[in-house]
Amino acid sequence: MILEALQVSVARGTARVVRDLSLKAQPGELLGLIGPNGAGKTSLLRALCGLEPLAAGRVTYGGRTLVEIGRRAGGRTLAYLAQGGRIHWPLRVDQVVALGRLPHGAAEVDAATMRAMEAADVMHLRERTAGSLSGGERARVLLARALAVEAPVLLADEPVAALDPYHQLQTMELVRTLARTGTTVVVVLHDLTLAARFCDRLALMKEGALLAAGPPAQVLTPELVARAYGVTVETGTRDGEPFVLPWRRCDAARSEPIVRP
């Protein structure tokens, strides 16, 4: 299902946290949303999910807005993984994951729940209660919950933020596989190497606007990264895959290193 944002603006008070932004995510594509803190990535993602009212523009799923799709069907159309999500009651892990089945009926532990737990590598945690999980385990359980929706579109806000390197790679491989099998996937990322290696396309945001969009090699250039983040980068390839390491802080406008006195 094609997800399209057309000249979307999101207002917070009088300020526009997302300004006139257009982007398109195709089925089978892993789209990475990157940018510095406060760039508006989360606001944009929430606006895509219909959680944030649009000050201007429109968001469509397969050509229809969420209002046209309807609330109930909307719950099956997209799966949203919130940033640093919480589990408010100490439910058993498989029951938490089964909440992803609510748009399809009841929150029962069914085959889709099992597939999601298997994919997110939380099957061994299924009998534990949510309160007993570590931060990284909880993040993977919540990812499994989002996968259990089995929606054609997955929007994940920093899905690897709380994870150790092993599970970061595992999660990125998982969302890439998901994209390869036909799901439209949008992920917010901070790790530029993960963004460069795993995403098919990147959208780089700064101050609510789109600074650049395209294949990682075109977006993660030293100039654009310096303008967006105010850091210089060391780039290279290993086993034919790119890596991008933030190296020094720099003057954002001129990409020259900041020299300490």
Partner: protein
């Protein structure tokens, strides 16, 4: 791949329902006068106006029905409000409706309306609850957040408490003040079928509204954003829970006064049995609330004190230390 809690849940609901029925029968059988229940029931059904039939229909049955209905209302709304706010300390009193209902009843007392006709008291309570409910629903319809809604409820409660205190302060006679204080303590004694007819419809509507939010309650376990992304309308859920709680609790306070701690403690007791699922907790808490209230109301009649202990006093005396013990346990589990 079956959800293993499924059959267990049905069994639990059935067991609790039987417990409520047994306590209901117990509550009908126990009183200051000895009563041959079967004879009274036979007379009542046959329409013979005997003394036992009269005791059963005018005293025992209304008390038992109200005990079950008030307890169910407190239990289910406690569970719903805790689920909505994702806060285990929420309580039917929090939304401010019980305070407003109490104030309505006190105003009826104060202006001597209750002396002229006895139903002025519950009617005053319903009016008070109605005004508070309208205010809260207006806020909920404007789409304010859950925290704002709760703070508005807390403010309503404070205002109602202050005005109740003012009425006591200005009470024309110490007897009037005493009567108000006694009524505020909460009791089910000397209620008639008219009280039942007055309160039960509101309570049933309230239960229906609250029970319809079960799935949304489950979704809210993951927070408001995720619940919304799963296709649940937050404003609609707030409207249903606050409206349902107001109707059920307002009607309860209007006929029985303030009965504390049932709405707070019962959801805690039932939560482990519901597998911590907020949706499942609703019906279980309603039934357990009914059982607890019926049980406590039987206890106040068995404890030989004169005057009779007030139901609200007993639930608070049992409930408060119990709640402290539970907090200790929760703290240990949380660590």
């Amino acid at each position: 791949m079956m959800d293993r809690a499924g059959p267990g849940h049905a069994l639990l609901v059935t067991a609790l329902a039987f417990l409520v029925l047994a306590l209901f029968a117990g509550s009908s059988a126990i009183g200051y006068a000895t009563l041959d229940i079967s004879a009274a029931l036979a007379d009542l059904i046959a329409g013979r106006p005997s003394l036992p039939a009269l005791v059963l229909s005018e005293l025992r049955l209304p008390r038992a029905i109200l005990g079950a209905a008030v307890g169910f209302s407190l239990g289910i709304t406690g569970a719903a409000l805790q689920g909505l706010m994702r806060n285990p300390l929420a309580d039917p009193g929090v939304v401010g409706v019980s305070g407003a209902a109490a104030l309505g009843a006190v105003v009826a007392f104060y202006f001597g309306l209750s002396a002229t006709f006895s139903l002025a008291l519950p009617l005053g309570g319903l009016v008070g609850a109605g005004i508070a409910t309208a205010f809260l629903l207006m806020l909920a319809r404007q789409g304010v957040g859950t925290a704002t809604l709760i703070l508005a409820g807390v403010a309503l409660n404070s205002l109602a408490g202050a005005l109740t205190a003012l009425a006591l302060n200005l009470a024309p006679s110490p007897y009037a003040a005493l009567e108000v204080v006694f009524w505020l303590m909460g009791s089910l004694s000397d209620r008639s079928l008219v009280h039942v007819a007055l309160a039960l419809p509101f309570m049933i509507i309230g239960w229906g509204l609250v029970l319809s939010t079960g799935r949304a309650m489950d979704a809210l376990t993951l927070g408001e954003d995720t619940a919304a992304s799963l296709g649940f309308s937050l404003s609609r859920t707030r409207l249903l829970v606050v409206g349902g709680a107001a109707a059920a609790v307002g009607a309860s306070v209007a006929v029985a006064g303030a009965i504390g701690f049932v709405g707070l403690v019962v959801p805690h007791l039932m939560r482990p049995l519901a597998g911590n699922r907020p949706g499942r907790l609703l019906l279980l808490s309603g039934l357990a609330g009914a059982a607890l209230t019926l049980g406590a109301d039987i206890a106040v009649r068995l404890i030989p004190t004169r005057p009779e202990l007030k139901l609200g006093v007993v639930t608070a005396i049992i409930g408060a230390p119990f709640f402290l013990a539970m907090l200790r346990r929760l703290k240990v589990e949380g660590e």
